[in-house]
């Protein structure tokens, strides 16, 4: 197998160039998918026979919860890559993805609470799924706080990577919480191996929203990482060229 792409990925310059060509496409895909999914889910999908229209919260709650967990797994993978191969870009990815993951966890928790009121009769219960999601939020806060508290960049990278790797144990706990413990939260509506139990006109907009959220994350992550790379590599000549080029293209006062 050819591994040159993997080593190139460690180079901030190569990353900056390749991500520049991906970013507009990810942004367009996110915009289109989220708009289509939102309109479809809010106005065209049929109401649930038990929950009525409150079930429409699923179209933001489930994609945000998926993404919140996926981002944490990505944090752990990037943490391993950063520790093993000393790749600078992996640490940039960990520190720039963590705030997005925290925001997604907030969306999942808040929309879940709002959904819980008409469905369960309460905004919050201390059950396994909800509590493990709250722990996920605190893990994200931990990564963000570590990155800001440690001024030495290498030490901060190592600390964040360790927390990301250790904290990933929470992800299977979140996933199986609805099976291991008695909880109010319903089990997963989706699985990779089985056909969905929902009718197609309900799950298709959900699938579109999930894809839209992933594209959204990709676009925002690249946006954040590109800026961080420019700041970290500010002394190198390619960044100076890049900044001059951008300044000439966009008139910034």
């Amino acid at each position: 197998m050819n591994w040159t792409w993997f080593h190139k990925l460690g180079s901030p310059k190569w990353f900056y160039q390749i991500s520049g060509s991906w970013l507009p496409w990810l942004a367009i895909a996110a915009g289109v998918l989220l708009t289509v999914g939102l309109v479809w889910g809010l106005a065209f999908a049929p109401a649930d026979y038990q929950q009525g229209n409150s079930f429409r919260i699923i179209y933001i709650h489930v994609p945000a919860a998926f993404l919140a967990q996926s981002i944490y797994v990505m944090l752990a993978v990037a943490g391993v890559v950063g520790m093993v191969w000393k790749m600078k870009i992996a640490d940039v990815a960990v520190q720039q993805a963590a705030p997005i993951g925290a925001w997604m966890t907030v969306i999942a928790l808040v929309t879940g609470a709002i959904w819980g009121k008409p469905t369960w009769g309460t905004y919050w219960v201390w059950d396994a799924r909800l509590t493990s999601m709250l722990i996920l939020l605190f893990l994200y806060f931990g990564v963000i706080a570590l990155a800001q508290a440690i001024s030495n960049r290498d030490s901060a990278a190592k600390a964040c990577a360790v927390l990301a790797i250790v904290g990933v144990i929470n992800i299977p706990i979140i996933k199986y919480s609805v099976e291991w413990w008695n909880t109010l939260h319903q089990p997963a509506s989706f699985s990779v191996i089985e056909r969905p139990t929902m009718p197609v006109e309900m799950w298709l907009p959900l699938l579109i929203m999930v894809l839209g959220f992933y594209c959204f994350f990709g676009a925002v992550l690249l946006l954040r990482m590109r800026l961080e790379v420019l700041k970290r590599e500010a002394r190198s000549s390619w960044v100076r060229d890049e900044v001059t080029k951008t300044l000439n293209a966009e008139v910034v006062r």
Binding site: L42, A43, N53, S54, R56, I57, I114, P118, V243, L247
Partner: protein, 58 residues
């Protein structure tokens, strides 16, 4: 369309307050996630432009 009128769409079968507040908060959070890095990038470019001008004068 699963609603007969726009009024029904807004009411969401008596769940309007829940559905719309959940969507409003989520859209606001997504907007913040786009706006913050864009503003940070703009601020960085402004600082760089100032620095380059200063260096050109010297």
């Amino acid at each position: 369309m699963s609603f007969a009128s726009f009024g029904e769409f807004l009411a969401m079968g008596n769940h309007g307050a829940y559905v719309w507040s959940a969507y409003a908060i989520s859209v606001a959070v997504l907007a913040i996630n786009v706006a913050l890095p864009l503003m940070a990038r703009r601020r960085y470019l402004q600082e760089e432009a100032r620095r380059l001008r200063r260096e050109a004068q010297q």
